[in-house]
Subunit: 203 residues, 2 copies
């Protein structure tokens, strides 16, 4: 059983999808034991409390990047975290941090990478760019996090149709429902099995 930390910045809808996947038996090889938010007032923190998952708020703005990452590493190590999931987490992590959790950190991005990914593409901006280019198909990607934004190995992708009357908001919601909330728990389960398998091979 891999101990999972979920890092959040906002509403926690991806966190909710992961918690639901635990309940439904989709995510069985790992357990969410810690939720960390990088800012105050995230709804995701309330969701963690509702589900009795220990949570921690590290205000990045107040702490500064270096201190924020130091405290984050401490929390992850104290809790024996085997997999870090970035679930709508907006802070960019340093190269050092990424190397420390190499092959043990995943992110969900709301487009079919390499389209609409990399620096500057986050949240609604991704969907605004997709509509501006006029694509008819978009989707979501779960990938390994390395020190290139949205650049790591792709684990899963799922396509979503764009509708003629879509706004960035309606498209964002449909990409969540039809892609992110499905592939993020599946990819988390896949990663946990891999990490567990590696542990067994080492023992």
């Amino acid at each position: 059983m891999v101990r999972i930390a979920v890092l959040v910045s906002g509403g926690g809808t991806n966190l909710q999808a992961l918690l639901d996947a635990e309940r439904k038996g989709i995510l069985t090889s790992g357990k969410i034991v810690l939720v960390v938010a990088d800012r105050e007032g995230c709804k995701a923190l309330e969701k963690a409390k509702t589900h009795a998952v220990p949570s921690l708020m590290l205000d990045k703005n107040t702490l500064g990047k270096a201190e924020f990452e130091k405290k984050l590493v401490e929390a992850l190590e104290e809790n024996g975290i085997g997999l870090v999931i970035l679930a709508g987490f907006l802070s960019i992590l340093s190269g050092d941090f990424c190397r420390r959790f190499e092959e043990r950190m995943i992110n969900v991005h709301p487009s079919l990478i390499p389209s609409f990914s990399g620096k500057g593409f986050y949240g609604l901006k991704v969907h605004e760019a997709a509509l501006l280019r006029g694509v008819k198909v978009t989707g979501a990607t779960v990938h390994i996090v390395d020190n290139v934004p949205d650049g790591g190995r792709i684990l899963m992708q799922k396509a979503v149709e764009v509708m003629d009357n879509d706004t960035p908001e309606t498209l964002q919601r449909r990409v969540m429902e039809q892609a992110e909330w499905i592939i993020l728990p599946q990819a988390a389960e896949m990663m946990c099995r891999t990490i567990d398998g590696e542990k067994e091979n080492t023992l």
Copy 2:
């Protein structure tokens, strides 16, 4: 009824899909009346002959770009062409040519634009790049041709799953079968209806 010219450089599988779509009643608002190849020995030319579609070979290498385009324009105008379809056509057309056939020329590209598109991405190179990046979803795009390579307005896109054991060749074949051969005739029909509609509005 819109008179269609199909421009080809190779095997003519997309031409075949268009001819099949005519036979099956998927492409009903336009008729393929001319096939033009930009090099000798294209199998597509044989396909045109088999289906009794008039064809023309303009060897771009021998003619040079300017003379090639001049003769191409002449052939298209003599034949009263209302829609030009680039179907595996490898020559890059000049800005002048693109402007002359503005909103009357479409192309099929074997990826989900903007991924793996633009300069240098053609044929197998597209699928090699997709496999190298490790995407799990790719597809095809039909778009209006303007003077930016693969940059015009997107008409249709269709997603195709990448398999773990795919080679560039198997992926290319599946993208043709599951996407290009489906959306190219559909987009051609859509364009013919639009062009016919505009004509009626002008009369």
